[in-house]
């Protein structure tokens, strides 16, 4: 197997296409579009290529117009899935996402629009995580699944919501670390509403909240170190399941948020504020956050480990908070 993560990590992607394919079968209005869509479908989903050859459109490298083009399609009844490929390119289409997609849905009947993109880590402009920016814009849902089962269920739901959804794919989540129970048929058809977090591990003394790549990191750490804290996967960072988080924190009296994104003004900051307000009397310690440093991502792979909180720091803070 190739060492290159581009080719290695496929399970979540396959699950996303599985959901899209299933919905395409019953909903003729779903179209896939973006740069080089025909090539991406050719490699990623031969089934869609074979059965729905007219329902994916290759567009030029013009992200901003492509997303607005999708809005126009949606006005005629199409449910577009816009593939922006790498998340860094989302900055190029912030205008159409924030100014057109979100606002047209506010002014008149909301339409289903999915904007997909993936996180990589390769350098200054290939590996940024703009997810928290979108949580600030009214009218957008933001989904980041940490395993294939959630990826399938959440895409299935997003395609049936009359709403705009940014659907992220964390390509740094390694296939080899995926549990079999996160991809087998049991639960494969479960409906997963947007805004419902999942308790990944039941525990006491401390609630650890995370999503995407760092959630997977924590899951492995819990297994290896036999940790007995509560672990919650947000699954969607907007809407956020604050009810579940606060219920868990109220019982355990401590909360740590571990995020793959920059902590400054991020998702963790928002949850910290909410938890501090809602669970103030129940907390033994201040809510803590661990995440990426506020720095540009260096190109060398030797430095990529420093772009995420270390296991050592997680263990130390968790130990302190569990007291």
């Amino acid at each position: 197997m190739s060492k290159d993560p581009w080719f290695r990590n496929r399970l979540i992607r396959d699950a996303i296409y599985h959901a899209i394919y299933d919905r395409m079968k019953v909903d003729p209005s779903i179209y896939i579009m973006g740069e080089g869509s025909h090539m991406k479908i050719h490699f990623d989903s031969p089934q869609i290529e074979k059965e729905f050859p007219d329902r994916f459109i290759t567009l030029p490298i013009s992200e901003d117009a492509n997303t607005n083009f999708a809005v126009g399609m949606a006005l005629a009844g199409v449910k577009p899935i816009v593939d922006v490929i790498t998340a860094d390119f989302l900055y190029r289409t912030m205008d159409s996402i924030c100014n057109t997609v979100a606002k047209t849905n506010f002014v008149s009947d909301p339409k289903t629009i999915i904007i997909r993109s993936e996180f990589m880590t390769a350098g200054p402009t290939t590996g940024q995580r703009p997810e928290s920016l979108f949580t600030h814009i009214p009218g957008l849902n933001v989904v980041i699944p940490s395993n294939p089962l959630d990826a399938r269920g959440l895409m299935d739901t997003a395609l049936q919501e009359k709403a705009a959804t940014l659907f992220f794919e964390d390509r740094m989540i390694e296939d080899a670390t995926t549990h079999s129970h996160d991809m087998d048929n049991k639960g494969w058809w479960d409906k997963i509403p947007l805004g419902k977090a999942r308790i990944v591990r039941i525990g006491h003394k401390l609630t650890i909240v995370s999503y995407g790549l760092t959630l997977r990191m924590l899951d492995l750490l819990f297994e290896r170190e036999k940790l007995e804290y509560e672990l919650i996967d947000l699954r969607t960072i907007y809407p956020v399941d604050l009810e579940l988080v606060c219920k868990s924190v109220s019982k355990r009296g401590a909360c740590l948020i571990v995020e793959p994104d920059v902590t400054y003004a991020g998702v963790g900051a928002e949850i910290t504020a909410e938890v501090s307000e809602r669970c103030f009397g129940k907390l033994r310690h201040p809510v803590r956050r661990l995440g990426a440093p506020r720095t540009t991502i260096p190109a060398s792979r030797a430095l990529h480990d420093y772009m995420l909180p270390s296991e050592k720091s997680i263990l130390e803070v968790a130990e302190e908070l569990s007291k």
């Binding site: 179209y31 013009s62 117009a65 607005n68």
Partner: protein, 304 residues
């Protein structure tokens, strides 16, 4: 019916609705609205050439397009004045109107956005819904400095979408003159980069606009391809209410000699008396609408 008198009356309606709204601006009862004074022949002429089933997508200066496409005045004026009875319940205002009953699929305040959205709409109408409808997208000459417009023209030609590109060339970007944003003599010649056919016409002569639009729309419809009509026009009002104008009073007065209403009047050879009759009758209808809108409630806040 596209006879000149009907078209003239429609232009008068636009002029009078905008004049009336301007009074609201002066009194501080409306925000800084964007009017189309002097450009009415374009919206009226193009919409007259379209079928009712055809679509329009427009920009921020859009009260004229709404009326030209046949909007019911009450819903439009209520929307512009932020009333709950507006076509979008007062959520859209003058610059973000979506009026599907007349197939006006959004106006976009942000310059350039209308072109890619219209391209997607035109694609879906032809290749998803399999209709023969076309989309007319209105955008200014200054909008052709925006990247999204060029990205969209590229896609429109590659994907062969039935799109009538209506360029309202008033030689101004807000309050900035052409030499700051348009390096070419015309907008039409810029279309060569995409292999899009284009013509340039006098956009202040409503009869020429109708004839050109009728001819081009049928070509757009039958060949399913984007074609541009550049309409040279004169904006006789400020970019928006409450903003100064880069042009002198004399310059605007000179441009007013090309007022589309004046051109139509001369051709119709209406007597002063007949003209006043038309204006008074139209004003009566409009006044009645404004009176009812005045009584309409404002929207209430729903925090959900």
């Amino acid at each position: 019916m596209n006879d000149l008198l009907t078209l003239y009356k429609r232009m008068v309606t636009i002029r009078l609705v905008e004049n009336k709204l301007q009074e609201y601006c002066f009194r501080g009862e409306a925000g800084d609205l964007h009017f189309s004074k002097g450009q009415e022949a374009i919206s009226v002429g193009v919409c007259a050439a379209l079928r009712q089933s055809d679509y329009i997508v427009t920009h921020h200066r859009t009260i004229a397009h709404e009326i030209a496409k046949g909007a019911e005045l009450h819903g439009l004026i209520a929307e512009v004045l932020g009333k709950a009875t507006g076509v979008n319940k007062g959520l859209a205002g003058e610059m973000h109107i979506n009026n599907p009953t007349i197939r006006h699929m959004f106006s976009f305040q942000l310059v350039g956005t209308c072109v890619p959205v219209a391209t997607g709409l035109a694609w879906a109408l032809r290749y998803y819904k399999k209709t023969r409808d076309v989309v007319a997208v209105f955008f200014g000459d200054a909008a052709t400095s925006n990247g999204q417009v060029h990205e969209a023209l590229n896609i429109a030609k590659i994907r062969r979408v039935p799109l009538l590109l209506v360029n309202e060339n008033n030689g101004l970007a807000g309050n900035i003159r052409k030499e700051y944003y348009l390096p070419t003599e015309t907008v039409a010649e810029r279309m060569a980069a995409y292999g899009i056919n284009a013509i340039t016409i006098d956009g202040n002569d409503v009869e020429i606009v109708v004839k050109a639009a009728e001819f081009v729309v049928e070509s757009v419809r039958s060949r399913s391809e984007p074609i541009l009509i550049e309409m040279n026009t004169t904006r006789l009002c400020h970019h928006k209410q409450g903003q100064a104008d880069v042009r002198s009073k004399e310059e605007i007065a000179k441009l007013a000699e090309r007022d589309p209403l004046l051109i139509a009047e001369q051709r119709l050879a209406v007597t002063q008396e007949a003209k006043e009759q038309i204006w008074q009758n139209t004003e009566k209808v409009i006044d009645a609408v404004f009176t009812t809108v005045k009584e309409d409630p404002y929207p209430t806040w729903n925090s959900n």
